[in-house]
């Protein structure tokens, strides 16, 4: 049986627009497992990115509880949340977010050393091997501007994996890519999800991505309207 990584119970989130409350997530109950690529789909404004932010401890829910591997992390202080985020989650954003001032290798390492820790040689080696596995070794010491958007997204995946996260949270990672690069990135994410200790959650509104998912969760108006899981062959 697949290991539960993240559990959301009764998650709601309100935003205020000119003092008028808008509930963008409504009583969400979800559980995410290792070895699974889960796609969160839905139209624009359905609350996908808000849900992803709450899952990654970037945004606090207005109501509900969050559990990482069974541990309640709903009421942690900001610094503790940041540390948990660093240890447990990897992020791939919609557009490339490499820091242009850093080299590709430094961009990957910063995800580990952002809290001021020293970078051990073993971690440097790991970053190099991640780059090699994505065919980007030759770019280790150059700035991100020389990379294509597809290459930058693969660097973002490498950066997300440097801390061995239990969950990779990807916010429409292929929206800025052409078909060929999209396929490359999605194959990479699919591969990453085939790990007994890690899951991948991918937010998208692009139906072409659905076939890559082991599970497709559909959000509409802030509520889960459909949660489909691919049947695993016996």
């Amino acid at each position: 049986m697949a290991k539960s990584i993240l559990t959301l119970k009764g998650i709601s989130r309100d935003f205020y627009d000119a003092k008028v409350r808008q509930r963008v997530l409504k009583n969400i109950d979800l559980e995410f497992y290792a070895g699974e690529l889960a796609i969160v789909a839905g139209p624009s404004g359905s609350g996908k990115t808000t849900l992803l932010s709450i899952m990654g401890l970037i945004l606090k829910p207005s109501e509900g509880r969050i559990y990482i591997k069974g541990e309640d992390v709903s009421d942690l202080a900001e610094d503790r949340e940041a540390t948990l985020r660093r240890r447990n989650f990897g992020f791939v954003f919609q557009t490339p977010t490499e820091i242009p001032a850093l080299t590709i290798l430094e961009n990957i390492l910063v995800a580990n050393a952002v809290q001021g820790t020293r970078v051990p040689p073993a971690l440097r080696d790991k970053a190099q091997s991640l780059l090699a596995s994505f065919g980007l070794s030759e770019y280790a010491h150059v700035k991100p501007k020389v990379l294509s958007t597809g290459e930058k997204q693969r660097v973002a995946i490498a950066r997300a994996l440097i801390n061995d996260p239990v969950l990779l949270l990807c916010d429409e990672p292929t929206s800025a890519l052409d078909a060929e690069n999209s396929a490359l990135v999605l194959d990479t994410l699919k591969g990453v999800s085939r790990d007994d200790d890690r899951g991948v959650v991918l937010v998208t509104h692009d139906p072409r991505v659905y076939p890559y998912g082991d599970r497709v969760i559909t959000l509409e108006h802030g509520a889960v309207v459909h949660d489909w899981r691919r049947e695993v062959a016996a």
Binding site: T49, E78, Q94, V114, R118
Partner: protein
């Protein structure tokens, strides 16, 4: 890694970094130049007191600075000689004089008449000649900076001061006073120039015996000379500087310029660093999303401020050193006490950090959720 990120961002954003460094350079150079000039003027204000080997100066009643005193009875020396702590006491004469150049133009001078043979309170640096030449009855010194004023005299040339004949026997090296052009001579000649009665003098300089308690000795002197002011040397020096600072507007002028220079520098640093942070907002959001805490962002921006401060301080001091070196032989007063560079560097760094506060505040408030936008 945080300091590396800070450094890399600064190098990447060259234009705003250069702007912020310029702000630091502006503070360091402008404030440094102003204050070195003020310190230079300080040395002019109390030059005679600071370079005398006397421990105590006795002046006329109500004297509030070393460059203006009334007349004192010379017999006060006898009263002082009776005190146990006193090694010697010597009357000195100062008087305003007027000299005529060869072209007939009049120039004001301050004549200092020193007691022979000790010639205490006399000149301490010479380009030509020596202090002993003042033992010659007509002997005077003129300063190297004032030679043109006197018509470029050679040693042995005869001049007139208050229509009295004097002979240039020595040229002093950069001895300048706030009160005017200094001409040293012996007390007899000064008395002739000033027409001061033989029983009067301007100051009495007192040297205490080795190990004597200055405060106790001063108290005893005040007791025997109730109609005179008795100042320890350092007190008279401070009083003189304070007098000019307050009464001439120098203090306000230099204070205002220093304040304005600091403000301009801070504004430049604040604006450039803040703009730079605005441009880097997404990067900080990503760092926060990746697990960076607010304090990590604080450290990154603080590192940037320190790096900008350090580079600016180095360049500012370089510029200041070049300026001071270039104006060393001019008439511009400038002096840099040994402690000043350290205090000024700390002050400038503090202003740089102050200027970075808005940037720090903004950067630490960037929400990690904005990385998703």
């Amino acid at each position: 890694m945080r300091s590396l990120v800070a450094y890399r961002m600064l190098v990447h954003d060259r234009a705003p970094t250069a702007g912020a460094v310029l702000g630091v350079v502006a503070i360091l150079f402008l404030v440094g130049q102003q204050l070195s000039t003020l310190f230079g003027l300080f040395t002019y204000m109390s030059v005679l007191v600071d370079h005398s080997d006397a421990d105590v100066w006795i002046c006329g009643k109500f004297t509030d600075n070393a460059n203006s005193t009334g007349q004192l009875p010379v017999r006060y020396v006898d009263r002082l000689s009776g005190l146990a702590d006193i090694a010697w006491a010597e009357p000195v004469i100062t008087t305003a004089g007027e000299t005529r150049r060869k072209d007939g133009k009049a120039e004001g001078v301050v004549v200092i008449g020193l007691p022979a043979p000790r010639l205490t309170g006399g000149p301490w640096a010479f380009e030509r000649g020596s202090v002993d030449t003042l033992l010659d009855y007509d002997g005077v010194t003129v300063d190297s900076r004032d030679l043109e004023l006197f018509g470029d005299p050679e040693l042995g040339d005869v001049l007139e001061v208050n229509k009295k004949r004097v002979r240039v026997n020595a040229v002093t090296k950069r001895i300048t006073s706030f009160g005017g052009t200094l001409v040293f001579t012996n007390r007899t000649k000064a008395r002739e120039i000033s027409n001061l009665p033989p029983d009067r003098c301007s100051y009495i300089l007192v040297k205490l015996k080795r190990g004597a308690d200055v405060d106790a000795a001063v108290a005893k002197m005040r007791a025997v000379l109730p109609r005179a002011e008795v100042f320890p040397k350092d007190v008279l020096s401070r009083l003189t500087r304070a007098y000019y600072l307050i009464n001439t507007g120098i203090g306000f002028s230099f204070g205002f310029t220093t304040l304005m220079s600091s403000l301009v520098g801070i504004v430049i640093i604040t604006l450039t660093m803040y703009t730079s942070i605005l441009n880097r907002e997404k990067d900080f959001a990503v760092l926060r999303a990746l697990g960076g805490r607010k304090k990590d962002i604080f450290v990154i921006v603080l590192c940037q401020a320190v790096i900008i401060g350090a580079v600016g301080i180095f360049l500012g001091f370089l510029l200041l050193a070049l300026f001071l070196n270039g104006t060393r032989d001019s008439n511009l007063a400038s002096f840099v006490p040994l402690w000043f560079p350290f205090v000024h560097a700390a002050f400038t760094l503090a202003l740089c950090l102050l200027g970075s506060l808005f940037a720090i505040r903004h950067a630490t408030r960037v929400e990690p959720a904005t990385a998703f936008r």
